[in-house]
């Protein structure tokens, strides 16, 4: 019977059938971070349990560490305390930790593909909803809560209910100036923030095949913003080329054996998905959000929708509340909206190609004087590579801050925040109320759109700027 890539990976990892669509699933890799990792491991110890397979667990501090240049663990004291607990438990359990300043440290979903901790065909879980990012290399990766994390660590397995499958095909060539971020925001705008609930996404089609692995990671990253725990792109030569030689990639004979398996992963031509949709790339211009849900998104050249366009009273009320919070009016154009902050970073858009795209917008110009613009590379490695290319100097010369790797303003868990009422164009993934700081107003967009906004001091169309 024809099957999907998701089915193949799922079926291979079933340890026991628990009935009613539930399976005990084996986890090839587990990732932990500072915000929940230390606590989950402490909880295990309190129950008298140990980490089952410490060599398959990897830790990195990212959420609650300061991004200030020259930071130490204690620059943000509360984060430093969380990190101390994570370090202690990792040492006690024999779990590898990629600590601050070390090669390999970074945002958990940036460092995992970068070190080839995640590989095609593997299952991976992490106590973070954007674990779906890792599906960009063809893995089955999903986020879990703290209790499930403790379970995963204690047993290297998780009881999971099999989700449905949802494929989105992006057909046609990508128009110039349109990024992977724009593609996934457009999909969320079209299908809604709950369309993927209970589903595993697969992204396919000509435009996806043409994406680099870094761009596929961006695409999969926002699957959770459509409600899906899992997002995947089939592995191909681009994937293999990306992974070859990285720290935890198989080597020699093992690499050959792995490649043979990986080539058989992609979904069969005739495979049937629970839901199958197509988006024509000609219909995907650069996107920007106007509200407080990622589904509240329009073309950057577009307008906030008029309230009459709401499908019912509940949506109308949600739009009104969002516009009140965002300080915007129904029907107003996005272009020209004054911007106070720009954040280039997060597990969505903090990889080297993102920083290159942002730097390419600068062309020797300086940011608008009233704008605070931050660039936070996703990992130590991204930072080192960007500096080797001189990107950091270009950002600094343009008046941007060049900071230390971590989640930083994406979630504002590290003592850094966008001020109350300030408007921020952000390359992250959530524009929720208060996400970037109490009262902060977030517009999600691509690195190019964000960099252009910093220069103009307002939302602009990066294609003509």
């Amino acid at each position: 019977m024809p099957s999907t890539m998701f089915d193949r990976i799922w079926d291979r990892h079933v340890v026991a059938d628990l009935g009613e669509g539930w399976s005990l699933l084996y986890l090839d890799r587990i990732l932990v971070h500072d915000l929940s990792g230390g606590r989950a491991m402490e909880e295990l110890a309190e129950k008298g349990l140990r980490v089952a397979e410490p060599r398959k667990v990897f830790a990195t501090p990212d959420h609650a560490v300061s991004s200030a240049p020259g930071r130490t663990a204690m620059t943000y004291r509360k984060g430093g305390e969380l990190l101390a607990r994570l370090r202690a438990r990792c040492a006690a359990e024999g779990v590898r930790i990629f600590d601050l300043g070390q090669r390999g440290n970074g945002i958990v979903h940036v460092m995992a593909p970068e070190l080839a901790i995640v590989l095609p065909g593997l299952t991976l879980a992490c106590g973070d909803s954007h674990t779906c990012t890792n599906g960009g290399v063809g893995a089955l990766a999903f986020g879990i809560g703290a209790s499930e994390l403790a379970h995963a660590l204690a047993t290297q397995t998780l009881p999971q209910r099999r989700p449905g499958t949802f494929r989105i095909r992006f057909e046609g060539a990508r128009p110039p100036g349109v990024t992977a971020k724009d593609m996934i925001l457009a999909a969320i705008g079209r299908f809604g923030a709950a369309a993927g609930t209970g589903m595993a996404m697969e992204y396919a089609g000509e435009a996806v095949r043409a994406l680099s692995v870094e761009e596929r990671l961006t695409l999969c990253n926002l699957s959770i913003e459509m409600g899906a725990k899992v997002g995947m792109v089939a592995p191909d030569d681009a994937t293999f080329h990306y992974l070859a030689g990285r720290d935890f990639a198989p080597k020699g004979r093992l690499w050959e054996q792995a490649m043979a398996e990986w080539r058989a992963l992609p979904s069969d031509e005739e495979a049937v998905f629970t839901r199958d949709e197509t988006i024509r790339m000609a219909d995907v211009p650069p996107q920007i959000t106007w509200g407080t849900s990622p589904e509240q998104v329009v073309a950057v050249t577009g307008h906030v929708p008029p309230l009459e366009a709401a499908r019912d009273a509940a949506q109308r009320a949600a739009w009104e509340a969002a516009l009140r919070y965002m300080g915007l009016a129904p029907g107003q154009p996005l272009i020209g909206t004054k911007v106070d902050w720009v954040f280039i970073g997060s597990c969505t858009n903090s990889r080297l190609s993102d920083l290159r795209a942002a730097a390419a917008m600068l062309k020797g110009r300086r940011k608008a004087p009233h704008v605070t613009a931050w660039v936070v590379p996703g990992s130590e490695q991204v930072k080192a590579e960007a500096e080797a290319e001189g990107l950091h100097r270009r950002f600094l010369e343009a008046g941007f801050e060049w900071r230390e790797p971590g989640c930083a303003l994406c979630v504002a868990a590290n003592g850094e925040a966008v001020p109350e009422g300030a408007r921020c164009v952000s390359t992250s993934n959530r524009n929720f109320v208060g996400r970037q700081g109490s009262g902060a107003r977030t517009h999600l967009a691509s690195p190019a759109t964000a960099a252009a906004a910093a220069l103009a001091g307002a939302i602009v169309d990066a294609r003509s700027f």
């Binding site: 340890v15 026991a16 009935g19 009613e20 005990l24 084996y26 890799r29 915000l35 929940s36 129950k47 060599r55 959420h63 609650a64 509360k78 984060g79 969380l82 590989l119 593997l122 106590g127 973070d128 909803s129 986020g143 879990i144 809560g145 703290a146 209790s147 499930e148 403790a150 379970h151 204690a154 047993t155 397995t157 009881p159 209910r161 989700p163 709950a194 609930t197 959770i224 409600g227 990639a249 198989p250 080597k251 054996q257 792995a258 398996e261 849900s293 589904e295 509940a314 949600a318 509340a321 979630v411 504002a412 868990a413 109350e420 959530r430 929720f432 109320v433 208060g434 109490s438 009262g439």
Partner: protein, 207 residues
Amino acid sequence: MQPFRSVTGPAIPLMMANVDTDVIIPIQRLVGTGREGLGPYAFERLRTRADGSENPDFVGNHPAWRGAPILLADENFGCGSSREGAVWALMGMGVRCVIAPSFGDIFFANCFQNGLLPVRLPIAAIRRIAEETEAAPGNARTTVDLERQVVITPRGEEIPFAVDARKRQALLEGLDDIALTLRQREAIEAWRARDRAARPWAWESVA
């Protein structure tokens, strides 16, 4: 885990869609607060105004619904981040059951890990409960009975709901998943041995 059999009380009519876990509990509270202390910060950004005073427009601040054990919401409740603190905060404010048309997947799973029951009902049914509740704030009582798998509205209408048999059993008995899985130790060992032979590349690259 706290077992759940049935609960009766007022239902907070928070009829919003896409209520995300950042709104349920701000991340800053999770960095500095233990899981027991989160209740006062649940819905902090809706509950308080910029100057720190109470926002009278937030339904959870209405005297009739303070400490209510049931929460009503529109679709996609608990979307966004995986933070289990969202469940701990809801429980901390007294909520034992959330009724919504749909839930964020990770939040949904987190609820069952902690003895909070998420119930999926059609939006029309939830609106009826909300209307009956708002018609008699302070007096209206809703019951959610997990044993019989019914919601009983303030006017006495019984609405059946579906729940996974596995999760229902665990909630009724307050069972912990880890203990159950550890009983599968032999199956896990056997799987590991087979996989190690079949996919050495997945093992040796991290050994």
